[in-house]
């Protein structure tokens, strides 16, 4: 097998919302030695079905093989590697950081550029949230670094194919 394009691939699976489904799916990635870089699971628009977005790092051909094997699982209704198709994706992050009265204003100014919301404010700490693609979130974290980031909680990527124009 020719291996090429080792990079991250985004795979979306529509699955039955039952105990053990995630273990079955992860087992197939594990068998190929793939690390799951990110994973997001949530209910879909169809009753009893969940939609999962995986980001995995591996050669395109092997990801295609794993996707085909995922489709073989009884509880997987549909699976698609959308990496080469036009799609949009978002991640969300919660950032808890040092913010006394003095710095809070600065942080909020920065925050405006990044479409950030404040979700919790304490005496000398605050927690903010934002959504965006990975790059947006990385740049925000870089900017906030000097203020003293205490905790970062990121979700996995969620993705959807673009509508036809």
């Amino acid at each position: 097998m020719v291996t090429s394009n080792t990079g991250s691939r985004t795979v979306i699976a529509l699955v039955q919302n039952r105990a053990g489904v995630l273990a079955r799916i992860c087992g197939l990635f594990r068998r190929q030695g793939f690390n799951i870089a990110s994973l997001a699971v949530g209910r879909s628009e169809q009753k009893g079905l969940s939609r999962m977005t995986f980001v995995v790092e591996g050669p395109e051909e092997v990801v295609r093989l794993v996707a085909a094997k995922l489709d073989r699982l009884i509880e997987v209704v549909k699976v698609e590697d959308i990496s080469d198709k036009e799609h949009v994706y978002r991640e969300m992050v919660l950032i808890k950081l040092n913010a006394d009265n003095e710095k809070r204003g600065e942080i909020l100014q920065l925050a405006n550029i990044f479409n950030v919301k404040t979700v919790d404010v304490g005496v000398d700490q605050m927690t903010i949230e934002t959504t965006g693609d990975s790059k947006d979130i990385e740049s925000l974290l870089e900017l906030l670094e000097p203020y003293g980031v205490i905790e970062v909680m990121r979700t996995g990527r969620v993705a959807v194919l673009k509508s036809l124009e």
Partner: protein
């Protein structure tokens, strides 16, 4: 009407025709065993080890096409099924494994004999279930049979806690007649028509076509369709190891099997072909060797029911995803009769230039001669079951398989020890057919405790033990690839297998010379009961031809037998 979980399971098995069960009881599954006597339709065969139960169920299903059933208790009973389920999974054999689980309140508490068998069996089952309520049992059983037997078949495990077997629930028996549908599980039947037309064009254009017929032909009972395809377009047929007996080997178009220990002309024909039509085969590495040098001069058509097989090992030009029998029936009416006289003449020359199946004349007793004698004495009509190793390859090479679905062997997983319980299961499935287990002394000793099961139930299996007091294939590899650095390859304290069989109450004979081979086989065949022949074969004997692992047909090693 109120029914217990165990009763629902028994009714489900009966409804789906799963009435032959191989198993061993234990604490967690005892409530099910306590129910079996209420259902005389169910026949339970008590084996001696759960691995034996799983291989017996597998042998039964391969011989009959119906799913074999095995029962085991929780913990070690369940883990002992793993090898058998993995064997069935790799060879797409339908099986239903029922395991007891500790009672619901004990799950996750590291209770006595508790194991997470649904977790442990994930990679070796097509699907599995942990049933937490008796009311779920009917649907689970129905789904399990449907999943095990449709699409690409495979083993399905149902894990049932002890108290769920005993739980009483209301049940209406009319449920069994309801149709079943599983969202997202739609095994394909017919291939895409555009692809079928492309395949037709490739076949019309081809001058040197070869069919590579695999296990899928046998699973979908496409014997007649394969024969029609081969005869109408005059295409020679090589089979994969598990495709053996999908096409009669006494047919003029049969080329036997290619690959690591296949016959030279089959490997050469694949290599020189301009079109390979793979039917229900997965381009296993024992067939392809180095995939980058496999059949490089040919276009490829791949018929398979499992989309995940397409382009997995070998890139193909035309994939035909569907059930082998149905796809062949799509293809056949579109094909015009054709001949390939030059190509077939060329292959005949390959056959005479490379006499792979010629057996050397020697005073020593060798496995090849034993298998050939068995083939002649049974007129190629016996079901042959094997383990894994040299004896398996000689059995594949030198028996002339003339009867459909008459070869039962662990191809994918390569499970030594398969030969005893799988033969037992095959004979239970086909009591009217002759069943010979060709075994090696290595694998035979892994599961020989099932001789007790065979004698106890008078299962009339015959054993041809090719006994060289060695792990023969290990010895061969150490000789050829490890500078004759022999290690852990000899069995220097084998038992007297005749006495051993006798101790179990089985008739047995020992043979150590060529003259006694055929009379012994005749005596075994004439005996109305199980029988073992201990063939004491020469130990320094290798299997040829051989394409060493990861190599190509260019590195094919043949044995020179002219000097003998």
């Amino acid at each position: 009407m109120k029914k217990t979980g165990a009763q629902l399971l028994c009714e489900g098995l009966i409804h789906h025709g799963g009435t032959k069960i191989f198993g061993i009881p234990g604490g967690a599954i005892l409530p099910l065993y306590g129910t079996l006597s209420q259902y005389p339709e169910l026949e339970h065969i008590l084996v001696r080890h759960e691995q034996g139960a799983s291989h017996a169920a597998d042998g039964f299903s391969r011989a009959t096409g119906k799913p074999g059933i095995c029962f085991a208790t929780s913990g070690p009973g369940a883990t002992n099924l793993i090898t058998g389920m993995a064997t069935a999974m790799m060879d797409s054999s339908p099986m239903i494994a029922i395991t007891g689980q500790v009672s619901r309140p004990g799950i996750g508490k590291d209770s006595f004999q508790e194991i997470d068998i649904t977790g442990a069996s994930l990679p070796v089952t097509k699907h599995n279930y942990l049933v937490m309520n008796a009311s779920e049992i009917p649907q689970v059983v129905k789904e399990a049979f449907y999943i095990a037997t449709t699409g690409r078949p495979g083993p399905v495990l149902i894990d049932i806690p002890r108290d769920v077997f005993m739980e009483e629930v209301e049940f209406d028996s009319s449920y069994w007649k309801e149709e079943i549908e599983i969202l997202g599980y739609n095994p394909p039947k017919f291939a895409n028509n555009t692809q079928v037309d492309k395949a037709v064009k490739l076949i019309e254009k081809s001058n040197r076509p070869v069919i590579l017929a695999g296990h899928g032909v046998i699973i979908s009972h496409a014997y007649d369709e394969l024969l029609k395809l081969a005869e109408s377009v005059q295409i020679p047929v090589v089979t994969t190891l598990l495709g053996i007996s999908s096409f009669p080997e006494n047919h003029v178009l049969s080329l036997s099997f290619p690959g690591m220990h296949g016959v030279a002309w089959a490997s050469l024909a694949l290599d020189q072909a301009d079109l390979v039509i793979a039917i229900g085969s997965r381009f296993d590495d024992r067939i392809t060797g180095d995939t980058s040098r496999f059949a490089t001069k040919s276009k490829k058509i791949h018929i398979d029911i499992d989309p995940a097989e397409i382009n997995k090992n070998i890139e193909v030009d035309v994939p035909l995803i569907g059930n082998v029998k149905d796809v062949l029936n799509q293809l056949l009416p579109k094909l015009k009769p054709k001949t390939h006289i030059d190509w077939i003449n060329h292959i005949d020359k390959l056959k005479s230039d490379h006499p792979s199946l010629k057996i050397k004349k020697t005073d020593d007793l060798i496995g090849q001669y034993v298998v050939k004698s068995l083939s002649d004495e049974t007129k190629g009509q016996s079901v042959i079951v094997t383990g894994v190793g040299q004896h398996q390859m000689w059995a594949a090479q030198h028996y002339m398989y003339c009867s459909q679905n008459s070869w039962i062997s662990s191809g994918g997983l390569g499970t030594m020890g398969f030969e005893v319980p799988a033969a037992l299961g095959a004979k239970v499935g086909c009591p009217d057919k002759m069943v010979w287990s060709i075994a090696g002394d290595g694998g035979f000793q892994m599961t020989l405790s099932e001789l007790a099961t065979i004698v106890e139930n008078n299962i009339k299996v015959k054993f041809a033990l090719l006994n060289n007091n060695h792990l023969g294939m290990i010895t061969q590899w150490q000789e050829m690839f490890f500078d004759e650095d022999y290690y852990a390859n000899a069995y220097t304290a084998n038992p007297d297998f005749v006495k051993l069989a006798n101790a179990y109450g089985m008739k047995a004979l020992s043979v150590d010379n060529n003259e006694d081979v055929r009379p012994a086989i005749r005596e075994a065949n004439a005996h109305d009961g199980p029988f073992l022949i201990d063939f004491k074969i020469k130990k320094e004997e290798n299997v040829f031809p051989m394409i060493p692992s990861g190599q190509s047909v260019n590195e094919l090693v043949e044995e020179s037998i002219d000097g003998n």
